[in-house]
């Protein structure tokens, strides 16, 4: 029997006590408003980091120095990494978490709404501080996003700005993670057991534990660097008996789980999108949960594969090599399950599904080049070449950015109550998918041929593929302008969505709410039938 939408059952939801004007945003405690602010902020940072990438690709278009000098180039690569990781990808995931987690578990809001406000509003100030470092003597940080000492300790005025900005971003992420954990552990609707939760919620719960464990480690590392610079300690200063390689160990103890922090929520989104457009339940739901948890656990014991060439003992090299390869097992389970979900499904290829399938193919390519890099003898050759750049862009652009786009295109009709221009979004997909490969695939060849990363000029034998890569980069960057335009057009004049479900095969509590989702949702818990419908795995 078809049930009435939630708002008709509980008319209270229609009384949207929505604050107006600037106060709505500055004092926001509503999870949907805060989610929206995170997503808008992330979009701005995505284009800021993208602009840096465009200048990098313009410089690398042909050999020689044409556009920027070497110092500015180094600042650009550093800032591109920092802005994309901490400003674009992570806030986008927190934005999606804010929007979706409460309505997917049947909670009225996040458990700690004021903390939620604080964790968002820290971010613009952190990035204002980081980006304004372009203006100080010595210009922006230029030692790479990994901030290795002693190079990073030699910065001018931008050094304390970088450290303080990293602390602020870390605090923001930690507060966000605490909020997600507390919300999921305590505010699930009655009947929403852990193994009935949508995969996006599961992956975010696991991601939050990763954040809570590793962001303080990064904060500790940069605090020690700060005291080395200003208070005469020698944690990482070899001249004072310290060890710069120790920084690399601590950094990558944070850095490798950080990769999964950026990817696990993407696994969650894809696990929602593929069943919806295959019109089948997710294949192997519990295996997916355990695989995610296994990947998260393994991410803590593989960090030294980022530093195989620093001179580790053979036993350590072997341990980290095999532990890294082990990650392929749970990842393989996931790829198998997504493929099995599509097997004999009634597939349709709307933009969220297209991005999810591209994720599946391209992330797998990134995973394979990751396995190549995991082999110690081979890594001695690939280390610090463009092969590594190609690898992590396949993992992070197709793994995170494409999954974010799949998520936004999937849930946008629920957020605004209108359908976007599907034709334009399909164009966005094909342009992104094609030019992503034109941009990054040649970088595998460049790396294998020996082109080092983080250089503004290169030998002439690398010229052809660099030109191809740059052309791909400009086209990829320009095609992303479609994304905000499609969203703006949808909000302004998209066709209204009838009923609760924007997609025929969509399942889950969010699709039990009217479209657009009311400002205050699930003030009365969802019924058992609603939860059961969403938990048909």
């Amino acid at each position: 029997m078809a049930e009435k939408p939630h708002s008709e059952v509980h008319a209270h939801d229609d009384h949207d006590h929505k604050p107006h004007g600037w106060r709505r945003w500055v004092f926001a405690t509503n999870h949907k408003d805060i989610g929206t602010m995170y997503l808008v902020f992330s979009c701005i940072m995505f284009f800021t980091g993208g602009l840096f990438a465009m200048v990098i690709r313009a410089e690398l278009f042909k050999p020689g120095l044409q556009v920027v000098d070497a110092g500015v180039f180094n600042s650009l690569t550093t800032m591109h990494g920092l802005v994309m990781i901490f400003g674009a990808i992570m806030p986008a995931w927190v934005g999606l978490a804010n929007w979706m987690i409460p309505i997917q578990i049947g909670a009225p809001d996040m458990a700690l709404p004021r903390l939620n406000n604080l964790s968002f509003w820290i971010l613009p100030f952190a990035f204002l501080l980081l980006l304004s470092s372009w203006l100080v003597p010595g210009s922006a940080p230029a030692g790479g996003w990994t901030m290795y000492p002693p190079l990073t300790l030699q910065f001018g005025a931008s050094f304390p700005m970088l450290i303080f900005a990293i602390h602020m971003m870390g605090i923001s992420s930690i507060l966000g993670a605490i909020n997600v954990i507390v919300t999921i552990m305590n505010l699930r609707a009655p009947g929403m057991t852990l193994l009935r939760m949508p995969l996006f919620v599961w992956t975010w719960l696991i991601t939050s534990f990763l954040l809570v464990a590793v962001m303080p480690v990064l904060a500790g590392a940069v605090t020690m660097m700060l005291t080395d610079h200003f208070f005469g300690t020698s944690f990482f200063n070899a001249a004072g008996g310290g060890d710069p390689v120790m920084f690399q160990h601590i950094f990558w103890f944070f850095g490798h789980p950080e990769v999964y922090i950026m990817i696990l929520p993407g696994f969650g989104v894809v696990s929602e999108v593929i069943p919806a457009f295959s019109r089948k339940p997710l294949f192997g739901y519990e295996a997916m949960v355990y695989a995610t948890a296994s990947i998260a656990f393994l991410s803590f014991i593989v960090w030294a594969h980022h530093m195989f060439t620093v001179g580790l003992p053979l036993s350590a090299l072997l341990f980290f090599m095999f532990a890294t390869m082990l990650i392929a097992v749970p990842t393989g389970v996931k790829v198998f399950n997504w493929t099995a979900t599509m097997w004999r499904g009634s597939l349709s290829f709307e933009p969220p599904m297209l991005f999810a399938i591209a994720f599946l193919f391209l992330f797998t390519i990134g995973g394979f080049s990751g396995l190549m890099l995991a082999m110690v003898p081979a890594d001695f050759q690939y280390q610090d070449t463009y092969f590594v750049v190609a690898h992590f862009h396949y993992v992070l652009v197709s793994g995170s950015a494409f999954a974010i786009m799949a998520g936004v295109y999937y849930w946008l009709p629920k957020w605004v109550g209108r359908m976007y221009d599907l034709r334009l979004a399909t164009w966005h997909f094909w342009l992104s998918a094609i030019f992503f490969n034109v941009l990054f695939f040649p970088q595998h060849f460049l790396g294998l041929a020996g082109m080092p990363r983080r250089i503004p000029d290169y030998a002439v034998q690398f010229a052809d593929w660099n030109m191809v890569s740059s052309i791909g980069g400009f086209a990829f960057g320009l095609s992303q302008l479609l994304f905000p335009y499609i969203i703006w057009k949808c909000v302004r004049s998209g066709q209204r969505v009838e009923g609760t479900r924007a997609w025929e095969g969509a399942r889950g509590l969010e699709w039990e709410l009217p479209s657009p989702a009311p400002y205050h949702s699930w003030t009365t818990p969802p019924t058992e039938a609603m939860i059961a419908r969403g938990a048909e795995h």
Binding site: H17, P19, R23, F27, T29, N30, A107, P108, D109, A111, L112, P113, I174, A177, I178, I181, V182, M185, N186, L187, V212, A213, V214, M215, P216, V217, A219, G220, A221, T223, M224, T233, S234, F235, G241, G242, M246, I250, H520, T523, T524, P525
Partner: protein
């Protein structure tokens, strides 16, 4: 109207749930602080006791 003026939502009003929310927040915050100071303490120990 800011959220502080809004009526409390039904299940957030529940005292037991509030207690659990506080307890979980406390535990997770403790873990964060332990990792932060723990790593610095570990490095400090290593720096002062090396050879």
């Amino acid at each position: 109207m800011t959220s502080s003026e809004q009526p409390l939502l039904p299940r957030q009003d529940d005292a037991g749930r509030r207690k659990r929310v506080r307890r979980t927040t406390f535990v997770v915050t403790f873990v964060v602080l332990a990792f932060y100071f723990g790593f610095i303490a570990m490095m400090f120990y290593r720096a002062t006791h090396a050879q």
